[in-house]
């Protein structure tokens, strides 16, 4: 008898569950963590969609793409959220993504025209340092200085790849010699952002490659104004994080709905103080207090998405050669 009741309970539970459509969104790991935007966005979207939004975390941006490639058309994912502009060309090449119909008043430093990917936040890569230390303000000066930096490996980290593209975008063919000059400034290269930032906080380096928005975390969450990012004369490389719908999605309408929700006020207000990036569409209420203190680059650098792939491989070899000497 007990078993029967139990079985009945399970059955009703599953059928009740089955009536609610499930939207599966693959994203990077820190997005879904308890401190990331994931939980707040999930409940905000579920209030309006009459659905079950499920985030699945998979490493970082590049691991996310690898996973989508691995799963192919059989993937459970309806939406992939968290690729960046260095990866969109490679992502598009897979043919697994479908175009979108989202329109919005983006507040990005560049014009957005991509028909497959919808941006949800953005930021500039920058070197973060202790505010009381005077640091060089361009790559050449950095190379000539004794300032020590810790960076991430472009092969295993998104910011690491960002720096590679930054130097390439700023110096083109001169990039190799810049790297050679930087070699003695690089304390070490870490596999990921967390290790590099941890090393910096431990005092292992004067500067760490991160984002212009990083000081905002210390300022807003920790009320600590001791961190700053340095403005480089060359301009700063722009990272735009995007999402897209998968062609094989079994919930295409819901996926569209989510992409539209993504550029809405409800989603965008959550981003700045959870993902610590600039929202793709600045909310009507403006940015949170503290963001106005952030350094604003004079110039945004970016290698167009369709060139990113080829530039990347050549730049990686330059980087490896310069730093292996």
């Amino acid at each position: 008898m007990k078993y029967l009741t139990f079985a009945a309970g399970v059955l009703t539970a599953t059928s009740a569950f089955a009536e609610t459509p499930v939207l599966t969104v693959y994203t990077y790991d820190s997005f879904v963590s308890d401190w990331g935007p994931g939980p707040a966005i999930e409940s905000a979207f579920e209030e309006t969609c009459n659905c079950d939004l499920q985030f699945v975390g998979a490493g970082d941006g590049a691991a996310l793409l690898a996973r989508i490639k691995l799963e192919g058309a059989r993937s459970d994912a309806d939406v992939v959220l968290g690729l960046d502009t260095n990866l969109t060309a490679a992502a598009k090449e897979t043919g697994l993504f479908e175009s979108h119909s989202v329109t919005a008043d983006y507040t990005l430093p560049i014009e957005w025209t991509d028909s497959t990917f919808v941006p949800f936040d953005w930021g500039y890569f920058a070197f973060v340092h202790n505010a009381d230390v005077i640091v060089p303000t361009n790559f050449k000066a950095l190379a000539d200085s004794d300032t020590k930096i810790v960076i991430q490996d472009p092969r295993s980290s998104t910011p690491g790849l960002g720096l590679l593209m930054w130097v390439k975008a700023a110096y083109g063919d001169e990039a190799a010699s810049i790297w050679e000059g930087l070699a003695d400034n690089v304390v070490t290269v870490t596999p990921g952002w967390s290790e590099a930032y941890g090393l910096f906080l431990e005092g292992e380096a004067d500067m760490v490659l991160s984002y212009t928005t990083s000081p905002a975390y210390h300022l807003i969450a920790e009320e600590d104004a001791s961190k700053a990012s340095v403005k480089f004369d060359e301009g700063h490389y722009l990272q735009i994080e995007v999402a897209a719908k998968l062609a094989a999605s079994d919930q295409p309408e819901l996926a569209d709905k989510f992409l539209n929700f993504m550029v809405s006020e409800a989603f965008q207000t959550i981003i700045p103080t959870t993902n610590w990036m600039y929202p793709a569409v600045t909310p009507a209420t403006g940015l949170p207090k503290g963001f106005e203190t952030l350094m604003v680059p004079a110039k945004a650098l970016m290698i167009p998405a369709d060139e990113a792939n080829t530039v990347r491989d050549a730049a990686l070899i330059e980087w490896q050669n310069a730093l292996s000497k």
Binding site: E71, R74, S156, T190, G198, L201
Partner: protein, 524 residues
Amino acid sequence: MAERIVQITVGKISPRLGISAAVLIAVLILSALVAVVSRADGDFALGPSDWSAVRFTIWQAFLSAFFSTILAIPVARALARRRFWGRGFLVTLLGAPFILPVIVAVLGLLAIFGRAGFLNDILAFFGFAKVSIYGLHGVVLAHVFFNLPLATRLLLQGWQTVPAEQFRLVAQLGLRPSMVFRLIEWRLIVRILPGAFALVFVICLTSFAVALTLGGGPRATTIELAIYQAFRFDFDLGRAAVLSILQLGVAGSAAGLALWFIPSVSFGGGLDRMQRRWDVRTVWSVVLDSTFIVLALGFLILPLLAILLSGLGGLADVPLAIWGTAWTSFWVAMLSVGALLCAALPMAGWIATSKRAGVEAVGLLGLAASPLMIGTGWFILIHPFANPADWALAVTILVNALMALPFALRILVPTLRETAQTYGRLSGALGLSGVALWRCVLLPRACPQIGFAAGLTAALSIGDLGVIALFADPDRATLPLQMYRLMGSYRTDAAAGAALILLVLAFGLFWVMDYWGRRNVIAE
């Protein structure tokens, strides 16, 4: 002669289960490799940077193994010769570095040896120039930190196999320490060191984060990083597979070579038993031993202390959710221990009674295989049938058990072999076989070793990030994953607190199981 006795007397331990377990493990690992290859469309070619990664990997693993084992000699010798307050604790503590998550250990080491570390502060105080930890020497230093304790424990156990009368004889004859070294100690070192060397070598082969972070740049690219790059950056599964095979090949050759030597001494249990020594009272030997004990103690304790201190500061910032995560990690560890014992006991029984010890190499496969390759391979295998996230914990448990297997075998085989030799005839005469033989004879005799192996497995699985990151299930994170997430969202203090919880949990489980095993030894 000895081998014949084994054969006759212990034919009763059925090899079938052990062989099945070994085959299952080989299949699990090789199927992952096959799955990756099946999805590859690259040309399986390696570039020049891959080859330099192979060279660097072997070289750093060789150096790490060399220094870990060479330095373990004086430390183990000192610990074997001296009785002092806290010795038992120190010996237990030797297990701690081994179970730390890489990033925690690295930050601990940097607190001492880093640019802004304790050592450089002291050097600066006396007006010396700063030393940099970054480079090949840093990689080796970190690997020695991880593996010196392991090598020391292996050697220390060797010392304890020396019959007590030999030390009495030595005392009787008034032999000097140098003679004792030549007569007794050198022999056991030669017997144990090659195996310990191979074990450390294989462990260091799959190093990735340590090598890169402390290596100071892309010079320090290991095979594992190249595999990571092939998977993630280039999505070249063919190259990833070739690199994985290469890694297995190097590890396999090392293991094959070492199995001729691998220490056939028991390395579990009884570690706090202390042999009485009379030959060590010379001033010089006291100074020597004290120096090595203090140096080793400092080298191991200071980074741990740094972790402890920064962890205590961050404990208040740790989110409450961490306790749920700790609970998950706890039962994952328990199930990992269960899975390990299911595989290790029958395998150890089989190896203990088989003539060739070569089968133990199967155990090393799990350690030598790239975790990323195994994870990806199984992901490819599972995905068509089920949601890999649902399998995340099951896969984690299996991988943890696989990783711990070589250590467990190293711990269990000698005891089972000895038990089989000593009581095999009696058991045979009583008609004990199968389950009854295990229950009445083998398990009770091997209790301390089982406890030690279980403790090590539990600790390893608490501390290992493992493949769970690849399969990530947002609702059931493990402690190391949660700690990385805290770090990844700027919460460095909370992450340090989480690391401390992890350390305490891992070490606590290790201690409880080890203690349980030793307590259950039947009084003799």
